[in-house]
């Protein structure tokens, strides 16, 4: 595959770095070098992060845990966007998951290792049911609904004073130790990334992506796009709700801040910075933005401004994102060729 960037007298040629024998999705690996070439970018980040997390001081360990949760939100956002559902409100899934686990723990006395998976499922079911009536909407109309729902739930809890009202529910159970928290978070985030990538690369994922590209064509293929959109909401929503539930127990508190705009904007910013549509880009974006956010803690409210500006810059100026750029550098080599 060659791509030409014409400039005066020379052009840049990009050539795929070869895996020698390659037939659709079966790789015939000829050597350890090729094995490393394929596994390197997948294994090294996983191992590096786990080691980093286990040796890091407590404070940064906690930062990594919350980074992982934002990464889950971003992956979830990216999968929905790949299905043609652009959400301006991942806080909906996050917040509902958080409240479900808080309620299960506080009112029903269930332990965190039960409430977190339960909240992932129940939270995503609740959110999907809320969004069912608007699955027919596309583009900004769907986005507006997702923007409105978390704000509405926040105000309803405030007005009706249910579940502790503005005070929230505190004193919730927590996981045994920060090390356990960290390991669970890592398992969740990598499982989500590799699992979702596999799913989106399968024929099922192809149908989902088809809905985004051309939903009329998908419908003419006798596919009930609303059913598939609902399934995508359930699947993608579950990890966002899981993130909410997890943070509830990490903070031992749940209250209306779980519906805050941050949980909607940071995932979008992460996906935009990392690169939309790859899932891995969203994860990369989260691991850049959230620790950066901690480093800039001294700036206080200015951080929201920085996020917003980064979001604009990447959406408008670099819609490709960092991941696509890295991927291209890794998978292709470039050389200048003289043009006669």
């Amino acid at each position: 595959m060659k791509e030409n960037d014409k400039s005066a007298g020379r052009r840049l040629e990009r050539i795929d770095r070869g895996i020698h024998a390659r037939s659709e999705d079966i790789f015939a690996l000829n050597s350890w070098r090729e094995m490393l070439y394929l596994l390197g970018p997948r294994v090294i980040p996983v191992v590096a992060l786990v080691i980093l997390g286990l040796v890091a001081p407590l404070y940064w360990q906690r930062v990594l845990v919350s980074t992982a949760m934002f990464a889950l939100l971003a992956i979830s956002w990216d999968m929905l966007a790949s299905t043609g559902m652009v959400s301006l409100g991942q806080a909906l899934f996050f917040g509902v998951g958080a409240y479900v686990s808080g309620i299960l723990n506080h009112y029903y006395g269930l332990p965190p290792w039960l409430t977190i998976p339960l909240a992932a499922v129940i939270g995503s079911v609740i959110c999907t049911i809320m969004l069912l009536p608007v699955l027919r909407l596309r583009g900004i109309y769907f986005a507006m609904v997702t923007l409105v729902l978390p704000l509405m739930l926040e105000r309803i809890i405030e007005a009706t004073k249910i579940f502790g009202g503005t005070e929230g529910i505190s004193g919730l159970g927590q996981l045994p130790s920060v090390d356990v928290e960290f390991i669970v978070a890592m398992v969740a985030v990598w499982a989500a990334l590799f699992g979702f990538r596999r799913l989106m690369n399968s024929d099922y994922g192809l149908v989902l992506k088809g809905i985004k590209d051309n939903d009329r064509s998908v419908m003419s293929g006798s596919i009930n796009i609303y059913l598939y959109k609902a399934q995508a909401l359930l699947i993608a929503g579950s990890i966002a709700s899981l993130a909410g539930a997890f943070m509830t127990h990490a903070y031992m508190f749940v209250g209306i801040p779980v519906f805050a705009l941050d949980y909607s904007i940071i995932p979008i910013a992460a996906a935009a910075v990392g690169g939309v549509g790859t899932l891995a880009g969203s994860l990369l974006g989260a691991f850049i933005l959230v620790p950066l956010n901690e480093l800039l803690r001294g700036l206080g409210g200015l951080r929201s401004v920085i996020y917003a500006v980064l979001l604009v810059v990447f959406t408008v100026g670099l819609p490709e994102g960092i991941f696509h750029f890295l991927q291209r550098k890794y998978c292709q080599f470039e050389r200048w060729v003289e043009v006669s």
């Binding site: 659709e24 024929d203 192809l206 149908v207 064509s217 596919i223 009930n224």
Partner: protein
Amino acid sequence: MSDDVILEAKGLARSFGGIKAVDGVSFELKANQVLGIIGPNGSGKTTLVNLLTGFVKPDQGQILYKGQDVTGLPPYKVAALGMARSFQMVKPFYELPAFKNLIIPLFSSRVRRLAGGKYGDRDAVAKDLLEEVGFERDSQVITQRAGSLPHGYLKRMELAKCMALRPDLYVLDELFSGLSLAEVASLVPVIDKLMAQGATIIMVEHRLRELFRIANQVIVLNFGRKIAHGAPQEVMNDPEVKSAYLGSETED
């Protein structure tokens, strides 16, 4: 089966913002026939296709497919019953290999049902279908990015997408537009084969000469109304049809 009415439209009407795109169109179509729908630009052909296949809901009228009322059913249900449509504007999934473009219909529950509850090897089926519409077997065109295929291949891929559903009724919206004479000629045997297998075909076309070789009967639309319906030659001798076509040509 050949004498059965497969599709019946009764008084279909639909207007957009005060303009009557389709205005009281009725017809009956017997199984294993080729019905051509022609008419000048803006005469409501594509709207009629959209009405028949559920993409647009009629303001008035009724559509019976195999005796079943399908008026107002969503497109995917219409397709699941065996009425497949192609689009005039081909918008394939550019980044995917050509054969992967057929995966979506092959993933539908209709295909699974027809195959006896299992999907089978979708990739293989997809490649076979592309070969049937004239993609060269074992050549790059089957695995090439759809975005880099020439228009003629994309049009044929659009037909293969319909065939993937193994429908009883094809609704082909300007399948021949933009194709060379040779490409059209290469598609004629494909259509003949579908007919031999018992399919029924509705073709919306601008390419009258090519259409008249295939169609058993023709409906002419003008300003959303059906102005003629009959065998190709007799329709073209109809004075109203002549004036509609001549009139539109001078206006264009």
